[in-house]
Symmetry: C2
Subunit: 463 residues, 2 copies
């Protein structure tokens, strides 16, 4: 009987303690949100990063200025250590303003199309290329074409992003192969150049750049450009009734690789320093626009996680690391360098959170992990949902992010911050990815969501 | 034993049928979303309503043009009946561009502040008013002031919207009393005029108008203006160190009431025509800006629900009514006329859905109803959540909307479409409430969410 009473008491006390913790957590998370919404620094930092520094393509002067700037900002936050982690990045330059021109068409004469050379593309030479256009409705359609079917032609990849996908990232995933591999595949069929419909669901005059990859075994690297969605519709319409020739020209060029850096800041954990919690985004961006959403937002949110903890005087039990990765856009040299460093040092990332889907209103986090641990650890995380529901935060299974996914073998949990995706591709890789298209409150709510998750991970771990 | 088998069989068949229905519903809802995102008309209609017609204050020529336009659009959709429902609306006019000017301050000389007269305010007369400013930090602070404390003064209500509220509507609710009742309360203490900090969490130069109400028993109606949040901060800072006098002038005026109209379109139910499902928004807007989010968005979404059903050849079992209400902003004459009509005809609204929180990305629906029926009917609705979760749609208890809440005695369920609220008050009642600040996909997703809910309500009812 005494034993029973003792057991009941222990049970009762446990419930009490848990209830207290939950209240305490709810108050703490409310504090985090209040502070983020009134004393967050992310928007100010993003203002500097976008408007004072600008677009930050790997190897560019701006990318190095950005390294300097965020290092200084992390230094001011009083972290235990802030260091630069070297990596060798490709150095691609856009050169002169590119031209994509429909020449002497029978219906419309000559028309300049809004265009951007794709990142890593070869140039056309100063004199440019003129050739007839062949429309190809995506990579699947190309697979069915005969050898030499594109000989001497410019391939026009015209598959739109599927507007019926609720997640615009799913729509992007379905169409972006043309941009990444279109040049390689078309080259094998004899094409001399490529134009691709921009990756956006919006119908407008803004071209969207992004990386192209020349696959192993491609004999001839051919130049490849994005044209705006309206230009793609125009071109498609013209091709229904007439032959169209295009003149394309770009002096873009891949220069020699350069040394660049990830910026890493660390607060050493007071109790379990060997369990690392990482927050991060990527510091590089495309050269057009100022990389406000992609991924200035993710960088300043990650830095603001540190700032909020410092302001709230929270001392993490586990090691908190803020990592601003270099070269996500066209090589991921920074992600590889960080992975190599971490593996060599036999580190364990209990969790990593990447923010690289824009600074929009939060919906929650996607979560990924090694299949041997995912189910149990994810279950633990979902138990925190009642604490996060008041802030409209949910968890779902799904990929984390390009810069942290290489940490999966360490068997921690990998999170991707999940903002609402509807507007992201209006600005993605485009000249309008500017601060004016970032909403301050939405950005701050993302910071608060990330900080709250780090707080719970740090306090409770994942065992 | 036979009985048992029979029972088991019935149970099995029921489960089968339900499972089939669920699949069928999932496919149908997918169809609704696909159609909304590819053949929705809401954005085109909103373009016309905002850019061709413009701001639509009750009694204005634009408000009558809007009545004509949406009636024509509903007529083209082939509804069973479309009619105009008369109501008598206040007719307030802004007059000449208003002036709010700090005069001859010792620190800054004279400064013009971005300002808008509040709707229904009296004017100042042509010569304007000049008086010393007294800052009052909200209505609660005013309650503690002595009689005649404001004698001959201009009251400056400076309480900001609370930025730490996650729902900006909650923050609005906490601060808007100053705008609505500030003039009445300050007048009782002897004030000759009022300026109010604009209702937005954003710090900028844009003033936000909105209704003011002269309460019963107020002897003297005094003029009341909104100033931008930056102007409010400036004024507050100056008042810390010096006396400030303001000159305010507006020729705004309340004219004689006018006849205006709700626009009502109906598809008669094929099986239960006496059970009405209403979708609606309000057609009037403020005169500044073009009422794109408030509430052009809600109108065109409601109309697009009808368009989608027509396009999908869906014939509702219950009566579907699309109601575009007049005069939500400064009197709610349309809502009252509709309520009176509905009550006199002993109608039963099984459900009503109002969209009046902007055309932003959907989070779900708030739901309200008479307390005698709410719990059971809401429970039924929440059973549909698995069908809506793929579209990020949730239900929560909460108010529905100003135009439909008077239908509560009919004991149906009242829904408010619930979009993300973070950006709404950047544009609310302000010159920048323009189409360019509405995202097409976000708007269409709202239409799809509303249509899906109507589909489920129509198919299954709420018994």
């Amino acid at each position: 009987m005494k034993k029973l009473i003792a057991l009941l008491l222990i049970g009762f006390l446990t419930v009490q303690v848990q209830a207290q913790n939950t209240d305490e957590d709810a108050f703490y998370i409310k504090d985090i949100y209040n502070t983020a919404l009134t004393q967050g620094q992310c928007y100010n930092w993003l203002d500097y990063l976008t408007n004072n520094i600008g677009g930050r393509l790997s190897g560019s002067p701006e990318s190095l200025a950005a390294v300097e700037y965020v290092k200084q900002m992390l230094d001011t936050l009083g972290m235990d250590t802030v260091w630069l982690q070297p990596c060798t990045v490709p150095h691609w330059v856009r050169g002169e303003k590119e031209i994509v021109r429909i020449v002497n068409s029978s219906s419309r004469g000559s028309v300049d199309l809004p265009a951007l050379a794709l990142g890593n593309s070869v140039g056309t030479g100063y004199s440019g290329i003129t050739a007839e256009v062949v429309e190809i409705k995506g990579l699947d359609a190309l697979e069915k074409m005969k050898k030499n079917a594109l000989k001497g032609k410019i391939a026009f990849f015209s598959e739109p992003m599927d507007p019926t996908q609720i997640s615009t990232f799913a729509a992007y995933g379905g169409a972006v192969g043309q941009r990444v591999y279109g040049a390689s595949r078309a080259s094998k069929l004899g094409a001399v150049g490529v134009v691709v419909r921009s990756m956006t669901t919006k119908l407008d005059d803004i071209p969207h750049t992004g990386v192209t990859v020349y696959e192993e075994g491609v004999e001839k690297k051919i130049p490849t450009f994005a044209i705006s969605t309206k230009a793609a519709v125009l071109l498609g319409d013209m091709l229904k009734t007439e032959k169209v020739r295009i003149y394309m020209r770009s002096t873009c060029k891949m220069l020699e690789p350069k040394i660049s850096y990830n910026v890493v800041g660390e607060i050493r954990g007071s109790e379990k320093p060997d369990e690392i919690i990482l927050v991060g985004g990527h510091l590089d961006s495309w050269d057009v626009g100022t990389g406000a959403h992609d991924d200035g937002a993710g960088c300043v949110q990650s830095m603001d996680v540190v700032q909020l903890f410092k302001r709230l005087n929270y001392k993490p039990k586990r090691t908190l690391r803020c990592v601003l990765f270099m070269n996500e856009e066209n090589g991921q040299a920074g992600a590889k360098a960080y992975r190599d460093f971490s593996m060599e040092n036999k580190e364990y990332h209990l969790a990593a959170i990447e923010s690289d889907r824009g600074g929009f209103t939060p919906r929650g986090f996607t979560c990924d992990g090694d299949e041997t641990i995912f189910k149990t650890k994810f279950k633990k995380v979902t138990r925190w949902l009642p604490l996060l529901k008041p802030y409209n935060i949910d968890f779902k299974k799904g990929g984390s992010g390009a810069d942290i996914s290489r940490l999966k073998p360490q068997k921690g949990l990998l999170f991707g911050f999940w903002p609402d995706s509807q507007r992201y591709f209006d600005f993605h890789h485009a000249p309008n990815d500017l601060l004016e298209n970032v909403n301050k409150r939405e950005l701050e709510l993302g910071t608060a969501a990330m900080t709250s998750l780090v707080y719970l991970l740090d306090k409770y771990g994942l065992e």
